[in-house]
Each structure stands twice: as structure tokens, then as C-alpha cells.
């Protein structure tokens, strides 16, 4: 009996040496609850010819950050999906594998939109394959504008005045909505969508370090939009501090006439017919532009990256290619209602003939990717500055100066 047990033990140990561990993939779309989850997993498992573990990691990006930082050095996961801001942090911490050599030899590379690929470069190296992209635009209720004889705003002044007019004159309807909750990433993204019209960069990243290129005047002007929007009647003061739930659900419930969001809001139509009706009554245009600004808006890019500590970089690359393939991107992007960075996917009827996606696709070239720095701290300072203005702790000028001072103070650590 003892000899038998010993034999099993030795065989197990040898087996461990001979057979390598399966690859692991962390992908929030495989785990979080959304309408396309089962189809995505099914497609992946049907087409996958590699040995991949069935645990697809955490459902929330916040958890991905924590868990990856803690365990990346164990080599698990081999492949990870994230958002751009996270990817820069991971790359800066040395947790991601540079993909330049793989990418240069990749036949599909010419199918990708260059701005989406360039967005994933950090300190001269490529750290991700983009699989999902979008821009924030102005969504407005066509019927509300038609019934009230309103023109769709094209400048910041027009946006603020139109919002105030609607709030005052259209029953049960608020003209506009901003998210302004503490640590709400959407609040930061909305701020950047306006900021990018004044300056396409907030930081200048050179081999010598990071410096702030935003000016006090530019930051003040964006903060002034917030002040005017809240204090000139565009947004009810009692809606200060609200998050994405208030905005997305409020718009699709028909409570707001205009919002600046990305295409994901489309998925709300599957929750209730009434929300679908609101979305069918929606017009999509560029975010109004500052008087002396140029079109620009926050561009989101989601990458698939490889762990720097993977034991099998080649296998991980094959896995990364699989979850960014044409068929896979077509499925996942069309079902989640977002754009694909692959031109061959965007030419498919499912994407090209979809009025919603093509409406967003028209403005992709106005998308500006974030500068390649670790964004967590600037993000918090920006939201804090917004709150100082809307809770009347500071004027936009004071908050702009305060924000610039803090950005300059932390720039070297980004």
C-alpha cells in the first residue's frame, strides 16, 4: 500500500514536470453579467485549440488591478484584458510583456486603426492589442428638440443655454447631465472630452520624465462649463455627486435631454422596451466645441496584454491573437454595441449597417487617447476640482489653479 502511494506521488511529481500548466486568460467580458457573455464563452471554447484554464478572472476592472498587481509575478494570468488607464499602470510597474516583435510579424496588423494601436504604446513599446474602442459624443432626444424648435448645440455656450432652456421649459425633463461622484471614472472621462478640444495633451512624456502641458486657463475654462451648467440651470443642483447609474438610467428613462456618453448605453434597450424607444429617438453628434477649440473627445481603447512573467510568451501571444481575431471582435463588439479597432470588422454588415455604431464610427477620428502615464492620481485631482466648483468651495479660476498646481506636483511620479 505504502509503495503504491509512493509510486503515485512520484508519478504526480514527474507529471508536473512533463506537462505544463494550462494558459490562463482574464477577460471581464467572460465573467461579468451582460447579454453576450454566454455567446462569447461559447465561441471562445469552440475555436480554442490551446489548453486554457476555465477561470477567466475577476468581473470588475478594479479587482483586475488589485489581483494582477498581487499575483502577476506568479505568471498567472498569461493574458489579461484591461482598460487603457490600467494598462499604463501595469506597464509602468513592469508587469506587461512588450509585444513589438510579435506585432511586427503579425499579418493582421494593417487591419487596425493606427490611433488605437498608438494609444497602447508606453515608453516606446507596444503593450496591448486593441479589441474595443469608442468615443464619447453628444446624445440628444430628437423629439424634444423638434417639439421645442431647438437647434442642436455646436458650441459650449449653446450647450449651456440649450440645457438651461430645456430644464426650465420642458416638463419633467432636465437639459443635461454630468457625472460628478467622487472616484467616478466617468466624471474624469467627461472632463477630458471637453478638455481635449482645448489641448490634445495634458502631459508631455519624454525619456527624461513627465511634465504638465495643460495651462491654468484651459483647466479653468473646462471647470467653468461645470459651474455654468449647474448654476445657470442646465443641471439641477440636487443632482450633484451622481454617478454613471444616474446618467445612463436617467437618460434611457427619458429624464435628460442631452448627455455625453459612449455607445455602450445601447445595451439598456435590452432591459425595457421603453428604454429602447428613448434610444431610437436619439440623435448622435459631436460634443459641442469650444469657441477657439478644435474637435476632440475622450477615446477609450481596451487592450489585450501579456503578462511579463508568463512562462509561455508564444502561447500567450497565440491566445491574445485569438481573443482579438476578426470573428471574435465582431461578436463581442457588435453585441456590446461598441466599435472595433479593426477595419475589416467595421466593414462587416453587422457593424456598417448599424445606425448606432456607424453614428459613433463617423466621429472616431476626433477621438484623443490619453497620454501614456499612470492616470489614477490625476483622475482623482480632476474630480476633486470639479467638486470644488460645483459645491461652491472654489471658483473655476481657483480650482483651475489648484488643479494645475497638484498636477505639476505629482507629474514626476506619473
Amino acid at each position: 500500500m505504502k509503495a503504491k502511494l509512493l509510486g503515485i506521488l512520484i508519478l504526480s511529481l514527474l507529471g508536473g514536470l512533463v506537462f505544463s500548466a494550462p494558459l490562463s486568460l482574464w477577460h471581464t467580458s467572460f465573467v461579468s453579467e451582460w447579454s453576450g457573455k454566454d455567446a462569447v464563452i461559447q465561441m471562445f471554447e469552440q475555436n480554442n485549440d490551446q489548453d486554457v484554464a476555465g477561470d477567466y478572472g475577476p468581473a470588475l476592472y478594479r479587482d483586475v488591478t488589485q489581483k494582477l498587481i498581487i499575483q502577476a509575478r506568479t505568471g498567472t494570468p498569461d493574458v489579461v484584458e484591461s482598460v487603457l488607464e490600467q494598462m499604463f499602470t501595469f506597464a509602468k510597474a513592469g508587469l506587461l510583456y512588450p509585444l513589438d516583435e510579435f506585432w511586427d510579424a503579425y499579418p493582421d496588423k494593417n487591419e487596425y486603426a493606427q490611433n488605437a494601436v498608438d494609444a497602447l504604446r508606453f515608453q516606446g513599446h507596444l503593450y496591448g492589442i486593441p479589441y474595443n474602442t469608442n468615443v464619447r459624443l453628444l446624445l440628444y432626444r430628437k423629439s424634444v428638440f423638434a417639439e421645442n424648435g431647438l437647434k442642436v448645440p455646436e458650441t459650449w455656450d449653446e450647450l449651456i443655454n440649450t440645457a438651461a432652456y430645456i430644464t426650465k421649459n420642458v416638463p419633467d425633463m432636465q437639459g443635461f447631465m454630468f457625472t460628478t461622484k467622487t472616484r467616478e471614472v466617468r466624471a474624469f472621462q467627461e472632463f477630458m472630452s471637453f478638455y481635449f478640444q482645448l489641448n490634445k495633451h495634458m502631459f508631455n512624456v519624454t525619456p527624461d520624465g513627465v511634465e504638465v502641458v495643460a495651462t491654468e486657463e484651459q483647466l479653468t475654462r473646462v471647470l467653468d462649463v461645470y459651474q455654468r451648467m449647474f448654476f445657470e440651470g442646465g443641471i439641477d443642483l440636487n443632482e450633484r455627486g451622481a454617478d454613471w447609474k444616474a446618467l445612463d438610467y436617467g437618460y434611457t428613462a427619458g429624464k435628460y435631454a442631452m448627455v455625453t456618453v459612449g455607445p455602450w448605453i445601447w445595451s439598456h434597450r435590452f432591459e425595457e422596451d421603453a428604454r429602447g424607444e428613448v434610444l431610437d429617438d436619439t440623435g448622435i453628434v459631436a460634443i459641442p466645441v469650444a469657441d477657439d477649440g478644435t474637435p476632440g473627445t475622450y477615446m477609450e481603447v481596451k487592450p489585450i496584454s501579456i503578462n511579463a512573467y508568463t512562462e509561455d510568451p508564444q502561447g500567450a501571444w497565440e491566445l491574445a491573437k485569438q481573443v482579438t481575431s476578426k470573428d471574435f471582435q465582431l461578436l463581442i463588439d457588435s453585441m456590446s454595441g461598441v466599435l472595433s479597432p479593426r477595419n475589416d470588422v467595421m466593414q462587416m454588415p453587422e457593424m456598417k449597417d448599424n445606425w448606432w455604431l456607424s453614428g459613433f464610427g463617423k466621429y472616431m477620428d476626433t477621438g484623443v487617447a490619453l497620454d501614456p502615464v499612470s492616470w489614477e492620481q490625476p483622475q482623482n485631482f480632476i474630480i476633486e476640482a470639479i467638486q470644488k466648483v460645483i459645491y461652491k468651495q472654489m471658483t473655476p479660476q481657483q480650482a483651475g489653479a489648484w488643479l494645475l498646481q497638484n498636477l505639476q506636483r505629482i507629474a514626476s511620479s506619473l
Binding site: 450633484r240 489614477e376 459645491y391
Partner: protein, 292 residues
């Protein structure tokens, strides 16, 4: 080996698995955090360096730290005292065996068993502007002017956090104190009644002293729990608006997981641990000396 030694050895062996788990999961992380608090450890620093007491002095000389510390104490003081007073009141009511109390006993633990994340999500949805339950109700009863995003209002965000703590934890106090009340011998009350003690005197001289030890346990537990609690605030207000709900636990989280400055985060954590250790020792000693 004598029988006594054998028994002792058996005891140690039985304890060993728990001790190993304790050392691995509790003692080692605490020790690591202690050492990290003297370094500039961060995910962006390849070789952390010893910085002495710099992380501590940075915190202690920062007025914002003291404001957050004061708010943390206020939260603990308000939440724990409200929980205790309400929990004890309900326990006294339950003891009276009034009609319908059987049902109260059955449903009272519901808030306690609901996960904190679900509790916060539930409250957050109720407070949402335009169509949150609370705002819809206010509109229906003609108080539309009061509708707002309650967690986004600096005047209401902090009281709401206290309310969530009380809502969730009060049942624990109730059940613990109810069990303790049931164990007080009836003879004490009968003797006091014969001596002419009224209800208030019986409560003050019999009930409260008999509840000293269970009260100490629930109070110490909840002071520690509330002081270290992070999820209620992080999930509902994120520490806002304009920092009005920021507490030490959310500050540790932000320093560690937003700024990735583990050395600084560990220093705040060690300060918190020291404070709570001091509180627990003093409080337990006080209660014990009074009981003696």
C-alpha cells in the same frame, strides 16, 4: 511522559492548525505592513528603501489626516452608540413577549445577513435622483422640492453612512443583548420588586450591570469593525462629496490602490492598528475593573 504533559501536547497539537493559519493569514501580513511602513515601497519602485519615520511624520503633520481621523471617530461614536441604544431597546421589547414579537425575532436578522455590498447597492439605488425609491416617494407625496441625490449632498451623505451602519448592525446587538437578558435570573427582579424598586431602578441596578460583559463584547467588536470599515463608504460615496465622508479606512485604500504607495498606506494602517489596540486594552481593563 507524564499524563499532564501528554494532555498539554495534545492541546498544542489540536491548536497547531489554527495557529499556522493565524500566523500565515494574520500575523505575517501585519508584520509585513509594519516593516513596509518604514519604506518607500510602491509598485513603481523596484528596490524599496528604508525611509525611517517619514511616512508617519507625513501623516501626522498633515491637517487633512487629522480631519479624516476626527471624522472616523465621529462615525464610530455615532454609529456604535445608536446601534447600542436601539439594539438594547429592541432587545428589551423582545423580552416582554408582546404579541407579534415572534415574527420580529424571525425577520430582525435580515439586515445582518445581507452582504454589505448588497446593502450599499440597495441604498444607493433608493437615493438616485429622478427615479430612486426615496425621491419617487417624495414626489408622490408633494415634497418634490426635497428630491436629490442624497449621497451627493454634503449635508446628508455622512448621516446616511451612519444610518446604513445602524441599519445593518443593530440586529446583532439586539440578538446578543436579548440572549444576555434571558440569562438574568428572574429572582433578582422579584427581590428588587419586593424591596420597592420601580422599573427604572430595576433596569439601572440589575439589567445594565448584568449586561456589562456582553455589552463590552459587542461594543469592542463594533468599534473595531466600524473604525476599520471601508466598504460602506467606498461603495456608496467613495469618500465624497468634497471629502465629507472620507475616513481612515478609505484613505488607506486610496493610498494603496489608487496611488500604489504601499509604504504610506501601511503607515496609516499601523497607526489605525495602534489606536484600536490601545482602545481595546483600555476599554476591557475599565470594564473588568468595574466588574471586579
Amino acid at each position: 511522559m507524564t499524563n499532564e504533559k501528554k494532555r498539554a501536547l495534545t492541546g498544542y497539537l489540536v491548536l497547531a492548525p489554527v495557529l499556522v493559519v493565524f500566523v500565515l493569514l494574520m500575523f505575517y501580513p501585519a508584520l509585513k505592513a509594519f516593516f513596509d511602513s518604514f519604506t518607500n515601497y510602491s509598485i513603481f519602485v523596484q528596490q524599496p528603501m528604508f525611509v525611517g519615520l517619514q511616512n508617519f511624520s507625513l501623516q501626522l503633520s498633515n491637517p487633512e489626516f487629522w480631519a479624516i481621523f476626527g471624522r472616523t471617530l465621529l462615525l464610530v461614536g455615532l454609529a456604535v452608540s445608536l446601534q447600542y441604544v436601539l439594539g438594547l431597546s429592541l432587545a428589551l421589547l423582545l423580552k416582554e413577549d408582546l404579541k407579534g414579537m415572534k415574527w420580529v425575532k424571525l425577520i430582525i436578522m435580515i439586515p445582518w445577513v445581507i452582504p454589505v455590498a448588497s446593502t450599499v447597492v440597495m441604498f444607493d439605488w433608493m437615493m438616485i435622483p429622478k427615479y430612486g425609491l426615496v425621491n419617487m416617494f417624495l414626489e408622490k407625496v408633494g415634497l418634490g422640492g426635497w428630491t436629490r441625490y442624497w449621497f451627493g449632498d454634503p449635508q446628508f451623505a455622512f448621516p446616511l453612512i451612519v444610518m446604513m451602519h445602524v441599519w445593518r448592525n443593530m440586529p446583532f446587538y439586539t440578538i446578543t443583548l436579548f440572549a444576555a437578558l434571558k440569562s438574568i435570573p428572574k429572582g433578582f427582579y422579584e427581590a428588587a420588586q419586593i424591596d420597592g424598586a420601580n422599573t427604572w431602578k430595576r433596569f439601572w441596578h440589575i439589567t445594565l450591570p448584568q449586561l456589562k460583559v456582553p455589552s463590552m463584547i459587542v461594543i469592542v467588536l463594533h468599534v473595531l469593525w466600524t473604525f476599520n470599515n471601508f466598504d460602506f463608504i467606498y461603495l456608496s460615496t467613495g469618500g465624497g462629496p468634497v471629502g465629507t465622508t472620507e475616513v481612515l479606512a478609505t484613505q488607506v485604500y486610496q493610498t494603496a490602490w489608487t496611488y500604489f504607495e504601499y509604504g504610506k498606506a501601511s503607515a496609516i494602517g499601523i497607526l489605525m492598528m495602534g489606536l484600536m489596540l490601545a482602545f481595546s486594552l483600555v476599554y476591557i481593563k475599565l470594564v473588568r475593573s468595574e466588574s471586579a
